[in-house]
Amino acid sequence: MSKLKNLSDALNGIEDGATIGIGGWIFNSQPMALVRELIRQNKRNLHLVPAPSSIAPDILIGAGCVAETGCVFISFEQFGLAPHFRRAAETSSIKIHELDGPAIAGGLRAAACDLPYGLIPDMCTDLPRVNPQTYQPVPRQPGERAMLKVPAIHLDVLLLHAQQADELGNVQYFGPVFFDVLMAQAARKVIVSVDRIVPNETIRRDNHLTKLPSAFVHAVVEAPFGAHPTSSGGLYEADDAHLAEYVKASGSTESFAKYLDTYVGGAATHADYCKLIDNPRLDEQTSQ
């Protein structure tokens, strides 16, 4: 059965207040076409669980879609701090669940295994002080390592971007998978945008690239340059000029409203968005 959907249908049924996982890694494979569609559909009060990330959670926060977010790492690296995340944190306008690598890995792994919680080493940080729901004390026997328990992190919906898939939902990665696969195992629903849909024979020829077999995937969406302005597994680089434009536009409410008008509201479909960024072409490059 085909899992291929258009952008709008793929996100249909996501409720306000849902817990949304976001895959990728900082400026790599942020599922931006899906994120822009969430904004178009005016989703509200979302609870985000982003892998280390940049513009995907930031634009959702800026567009007013977010009530709470986990933060393992949200940064614009060489472009500075994440503008809307930073402002929301500094004005306490959203709730932030401070997480570190062990807590998100332990929590996702617990969810993937249907365990109530995971165990992580107590690193003696201030994280338990500001996030006591996540970092819970565990009785320690003499001579035992000091541990904390972290509740399972269940995702209602996970948004990912990868390079190619077939209609059945076999998803292939040309680059690193980061936390995508672990998150998929912890999610009730996995929606993946890919730069191109290919025949099943193509998938079979390089099946070592299929990091997400179809059993883990609920919908695939064809969205060439769907990670733009971030990179996609060697198919295209991050668009530094666009990222800089985003950061600049985020400087004031007016200029950010204009950015959203142009790139989200003003582009009714992903094809319209591609026109706005001058219709870049995917080259014929494959994983080889």
Partner: protein
């Protein structure tokens, strides 16, 4: 500005590389130009079997003589293994002393080498919201040692106590780190634009190891939020040799990513 023609980033890469040993295992974070350069410079000179892995991407011993973000797909073609993150978190986030060292940046570092990349001011209403913790808690807690590279050196970035502790150094000094159940380890050196700092063996207080050319003790003390013990007159930081810079520029950073940075 001194007579030594190298950038601060090149200086830091060389200083770190000198301290890395053959056969050691290391992890490098996402945007870590100095860290990549230090590891590959060590491999190109005295530590050919130093083993390093990209934290986010899983590429091992990438030896392209161009410095890129370690998350980039291009690095795969220059690497000798490609690991998946869910496997890597076993030894990144849980295992004690798998890594011999990590090299980290921070918004703040305090007198006992604890680091902060989360926020300045209270967490619920910060004056500055930083990017977050990612692997820093685990690497500072579990690696055999770590190094910290600070982009700035002032009383705000070197406070008496970090506003938020998300990377444990020596905690409250003395034996408090191991008393609280953390493995042996902690920070070895701190590199800043002003000099190199290490820690007293017993009290674990940060102290001056060397000053960069042209920097005075008074200046460093004035720009540090706590008292820095000094033993005698600190030496001047040993700047990169001609050979070190040649190897760095010809075999590690051929496109000059580090050279473009601020002059030392």
């Amino acid at each position: 500005m001194t007579g030594t023609d190298c950038s601060m980033a090149e200086l830091h890469a060389v200083l770190l590389a000198r301290d890395l040993l053959d056969g050691e295992k290391a992890i490098v974070g996402t945007n870590s130009d100095v860290q990549v350069a230090a590891c590959n410079l060590a491999r190109a000179s005295h530590a050919p079997t130093l083993w390093w892995v990209s934290g986010p991407g899983g590429m091992v011993n990438c030896n392209e003589p161009v410095i890129r973000s370690t998350a980039r797909t291009e690095n795969i073609a220059w690497s000798e293994a490609m690991m998946d993150l869910p496997q890597m978190v076993d030894f990144i986030d849980w295992k004690i002393h798998f890594f011999d060292f990590a090299i980290l940046g921070a918004i703040q570092i305090d007198r006992y080498g604890n680091i902060n990349t989360v926020c300045v001011g209270p967490h619920d209403k910060p004056r500055l919201r930083g990017p977050g913790t990612v692997g820093i808690s685990a690497l500072t807690a579990l690696a055999r040692r770590f190094y910290v590279v600070m982009a700035r050196h002032d009383r705000g970035s070197f406070p008496e106590r970090v506003d938020f502790l998300n990377g444990p150094g020596f905690l409250d000094g003395g034996t408090s780190r191991t008393d609280r159940g953390l493995p042996e380890g902690g920070p070895k050196f701190v590199l800043s634009p002003l000099g190199v700092f290490d820690f007293e063996p017993i009290s674990k207080r940060m102290r001056v190891k060397s000053l960069n050319p042209g920097v005075t003790l008074e200046q460093v003390q004035k720009q540090t939020g706590f008292e820095l013990p000094v033993e005698g007159t600190p030496p001047i930081t040993a700047m990169p040799t001609v050979d070190e810079l040649k190897t760095l520029r010809a075999s590690v950073d051929t496109s000059g990513v580090l050279r473009e940075r601020r002059r030392a």
